[in-house]
């Protein structure tokens, strides 16, 4: 039986059912020698133990399966009730002990801040986007706060949208579970996203990097227009440099959480990445892509020491799922290709 807690070093991509997509990806990256902030996963086993305790008091899964997706009032009432129960139910002692011990081991007595992020097990992208994609809690310091954030991640499985979606698809509730990633918070000087395949054209020969000052949440949430670069994957040539007006950044709050801060005038239009870091990111992007054998969408951060860390990598899904039609068939007489330039009015 899996443990309630799994460290990144001990998991890989095949452990997704236990540690969720995000947790499995971080473990896989760490194993491949890519720098990720250290951390652990509160596994689905922990969730199952917790849910068993809940079910012991009153049914959860059976009631959700009995729920009518089209009856919005019913779904809303059920969601509210289950989420309240998730907040109120005490953690099983085995789970709580393991979680707090792991937290101490990760953060030390000084209590380094962590990020708490839901890690859904489902393969279904749409479902994952309801269940917890937005549940990322940054700069969490205190142990009781950590426990509360883990509950919130679990509770997100029972959001109105998530329940309605699963009912519409008639998924069985058994096996619906949520893992939670807990990792050392990167005090990011700069952060952003990277696409190893162009999001706009599907071009596999370029890497697109977007970044802004401070924590990556400002970029991911769309609150700031990031700087944008397009780099030749093979050549390293930087063909596009769009430097934007980065008016705000997300900064940690000493007591926990993050806040929006204005960016000083002199930094607003300054590129947030120098060429050497862009090239370092490109190298990392290529390494991750090679590791998975598929194009990746990546979240990254640069810490105050100038080191690049990956926060997440997931397979690109928009272009990779399209059938690739040949651009031009080879011709019996290769010379006939030039008729495309000379032979016809364009």
């Amino acid at each position: 039986m899996p443990e309630a807690i799994a460290w990144f070093a001990d998991v890989g991509i095949h452990d997704r059912p236990v540690v969720g997509g995000k947790g499995a990806s971080l473990g896989e990256l760490a194993g491949a020698g890519i720098a990720v902030p250290p951390g652990f996963v509160v596994t689905t086993q922990a969730f199952e133990l917790f849910l068993a305790a809940l079910e012991g008091r009153a049914p959860v899964r059976a009631r959700i399966e009995a729920c009518d997706a089209d009856d919005l009032d019913m779904v809303t009432a059920l969601s509210r009730e289950v989420r309240r129960r998730v907040v109120e139910e005490a953690l099983p002692p085995a789970v709580e002990t393991a979680l707090l011990a792991a937290h101490r081991a990760l953060c030390g007595e000084a209590g380094a801040p962590v990020a708490v992020r839901s890690s859904a097990t489902t393969e279904d992208a749409a479902d994952a986007s309801f269940a917890g994609l937005q549940d990322t809690f940054l700069w969490v310091i205190h142990a009781d706060d950590l426990v509360a954030r883990v509950r919130e991640c679990w509770g997100s499985l029972y959001s109105v949208e998530s329940i309605a979606y699963r009912r519409r698809q008639a998924f069985p509730e058994a096996g619906v579970a949520m893992a939670v990633v807990v990792q050392i918070m990167v005090d990011a000087a700069v952060a952003g996203v990277m696409f190893t395949r162009s999001p706009t054209t599907g071009d596999k020969s370029v890497i697109t990097i977007e970044g802004a000052w401070g924590l990556g949440s400002a970029v991911v949430s769309g609150e700031v227009t990031p700087d944008r670069w397009v780099i030749g994957k093979i050549t390293g040539e930087i063909s596009v440099r769009d430097i934007s007006d980065k008016h705000i950044e997300h900064c940690p709050v000493a007591s926990g959480g993050v806040e929006e801060c204005p960016v000083t005038e002199d930094r607003r239009r300054t590129p947030c990445l120098e060429d050497d870091l862009l090239q370092a990111l490109r190298e990392i992007g290529r390494k991750v892509e090679r590791h998975y054998g598929a194009a990746q969408d990546i979240e990254w951060a640069v810490n105050r020491g100038g080191a690049v860390m990956l926060l997440q990598s997931r397979p690109e899904t928009v272009w990779s799922t399209r059938a690739a039609a040949p651009i031009a068939e080879p011709l019996a007489n290769p010379l006939a290709h030039v008729m495309g330039v000379f032979g016809v009015r364009r």
């Binding site: 030749g232 040539e237 063909s239 068939e329």
Partner: protein
């Protein structure tokens, strides 16, 4: 954009600059705009002719368009386009394509084209080898033309050998042969050129479809030759730097030295100095027959005519040799990198069909590219230098007989007028009377000098006439990079000269800030200092040796396929080419930022006061 599409001025609405009417009328009648030209679209060929044309230099346009059109229209029979018409107004050359639009005519031409062009592609290597033989023969003929002179007395050998013709006959003969040779050279120039560009463009288009965000530079890097003739002049300068160190005479090559001073010191050194001068002579013939422009103007002199450019590069190379740094181009490594690039991009293709097509297209591009890169050394450099220098000899002779003040004034005459002046002198020499020319030409030369100056300060529209819906003439697209998007940008940019940002083609990526050095003539090249940013009118591989001392490069004209882009990339320098007006808007000493990845140059300093 909801704005109504603007149109460029009609040719008939462009006024001749007041006071230059005589100079305008003196260009050949077939280069003057006629009323029917209002019906067509014309654009200013600023890529090849960025400055007002001296009347003689129009021979380059005439010879080039005679040849380009002949091969497009009647030799290879390009299906959708014929030749190029050219007109001149206010010293500026406007050109217009002749598209084929009738489907039946296109079909007929397609059949002919496949018979003819495909033959060239199939036998490319043999025909190109043959071409080099032809060109060297032609160059040999021009080299062997007798010196232009009219002796007081015919040499006694004329009598002893029973030669039977006098020096005045030779004069006219030399001139006509030289003209014939120049027209022939341009025919050879276009024998392969469009076919070469077309094969390259076919590969280029495929890459742009397979990799929509690939840069033009990357595609040309996959195709570029590493051993083209055009790299040789720079390699010779490196060799001379190494020899100077080996001979222990490297100390006398200093930044800012004059060529004369170096020669004087070399001569004072005795044997080692003489040995180096021998090496220099070996390099000069033929490799210093490379001119500092693109060879289209008589004042684009060659290294052989003015050694200051190669000499200005020697101190930098010598310092590297002394420091033990390798200065030879790493040709084997560059070839390996190119091959790896081709392999890496191939692997990114999605389907086997695409990989097979890619192999076919890159194979064809590699077959044609040695010509695309190599022809320039023979045509625009070597032959053109011989040609203009021979015309200078006529200039010196005519100036000596009072036709005008200076040798270079000869270039204010059209090639017809020059022949008439030569015949005038020939008649005078034979009859023993004074020539008529000295009474006629000085005033005309003065008028045309003034006109060139007036036209240089006259801003001209980038295009004339109605904007076509699409620009699909392969010759126009290939040679000038003119697209509908360019035209829209030209229309939009009308009159925003105050902007501190100049846009051009991204030739070589990287961002550098530094002090600008505007170099408008070969004479200025010696003023370039280590770490400055070169701002020049034309980009040309003959400038390669100075790339080792500059931080970045900016030019008025040139496309992303230019040799300069290749050289800049080899040196890892940011470069922006084709800005249109960098030499006019940037001043020496201004701080500028060159972003070679985006093709943008930003002027960072306030405009300097005129000194």
């Amino acid at each position: 954009m909801a704005d109504a599409i603007k149109s460029f001025p009609l040719p008939s609405s462009v006024a001749v600059v007041p006071g230059t009417e005589g100079a305008q009328a003196a260009y050949p009648y077939y280069t003057q705009f006629v009323p029917e030209d209002d019906e067509r679209f014309w654009f200013y060929n600023s890529m090849h002719f960025p400055e007002p044309m001296h009347h003689f230099d129009m021979i380059t346009a005439e010879a080039a368009y005679c040849a380009l059109g002949a091969f497009n229209t009647r030799v290879h029979v390009l299906p959708t386009t014929k030749g190029i018409d050219h007109r001149i107004i206010n010293g500026r050359v406007y050109i217009g394509g002749v598209a084929v639009t009738d489907p039946a005519e296109i079909a007929e031409r397609q059949t002919l084209f496949q018979q003819r062009a495909f033959y060239y592609y199939e036998h490319w290597e043999r025909l190109y080898d043959q071409w080099k033989v032809k060109m060297k023969l032609l160059i040999g003929e021009a080299t062997d033309l007798p010196k232009v002179e009219l002796p007081e007395w015919e040499p006694i050998e004329t009598t002893h050998t029973g030669k039977g013709v006098a020096a005045n006959h030779a004069l006219v003969d030399i001139y006509r042969k030289q003209l014939e040779g120049y027209f022939r050279m341009w025919q050879h120039h276009f024998e392969f050129l469009l076919l070469g560009y077309g094969a390259y463009l076919t590969f280029f288009d495929f890459c742009k479809r397979a990799f929509p965000e690939i840069s033009d530079q990357t595609i040309s890097r996959m195709v570029a030759g590493m051993e083209a003739e055009i790299f040789r002049p720079d390699e010779e300068v490196r060799r001379l730097a190494r020899r100077a160190v080996e001979l222990g005479i490297d100390g006398l090559f200093q930044e800012g030295m004059t060529v004369e001073a170096v020669f004087a010191e070399l001569d004072a050194l005795g044997n080692s100095g003489a040995a180096w001068r021998d090496e220099l002579e070996t390099s000069r013939n033929p490799w210093f027959n490379v001119n500092v422009g693109d060879g289209f103007y008589h004042y684009h002199r060659s290294w052989n005519d003015d050694l200051s450019l190669p000499f200005s590069a020697l101190p930098g190379y010598i310092a590297k040799v002394r420091a033990g740094e390798p200065i030879d181009r790493p040709v084997a490594q560059l070839i390996r990198e190119r091959e790896q690039l081709v392999i890496d991009y191939r692997e990114l293709l999605d389907t086997e069909a695409d990989r097979a097509t890619y192999d076919q297209l890159i194979g064809l591009a590699h077959r044609v590219f040695p010509y695309v890169e190599g022809h320039k050394f023979y045509c625009e450099h070597w032959y053109t230098n011989l040609f203009f220098n021979k015309i200078r000899e006529f200039g010196a002779l005519l100036a000596g007989h009072g036709f005008f003040a200076e040798e270079a004034d000869v270039f204010h005459l059209t090639h017809y007028e020059l022949e008439s002046a030569i015949i005038d002198l020939s008649l005078a020499w034979s009859s023993g009377s004074p020539p008529i020319g000295p009474k006629r030409w000085p005033a005309i030369v003065a008028e045309r000098k003034a006109a060139i100056a007036a036209w240089a300060g006259n801003r001209v529209p980038p295009a004339l006439g109605a904007v076509p819906d699409v620009i699909d003439d392969p010759a126009i697209v290939m040679l000038w990079g003119i697209t509908r998007e360019n035209l829209d940008r030209w229309l939009a940019e009308d009159g925003d000269d105050d902007s501190r940002e100049l846009k051009g083609f991204a030739a070589s990526s990287g961002v550098v800030e530094g002090l600008a050095r505007v170099v408008t003539s070969a004479a200025d090249i010696g003023t370039l200092r280590q770490g400055e940013i070169l701002v020049c009118q034309v980009t040309n591989p003959s400038w390669a040796p100075i790339f080792q001392k500059i931080a970045a490069a900016v030019s008025d004209i040139g496309g992303s396929m230019s040799h300069m882009a290749i050289v800049a990339r080899e040196y890892g320098l940011p470069a922006v080419v084709g800005t249109g007006s960098a030499t006019q808007r940037i001043r020496t000493g201004q701080r500028i930022r060159v972003d070679g990845g985006r093709g943008v140059v930003t002027i960072l300093d306030e405009v300097l006061e005129d000194a």
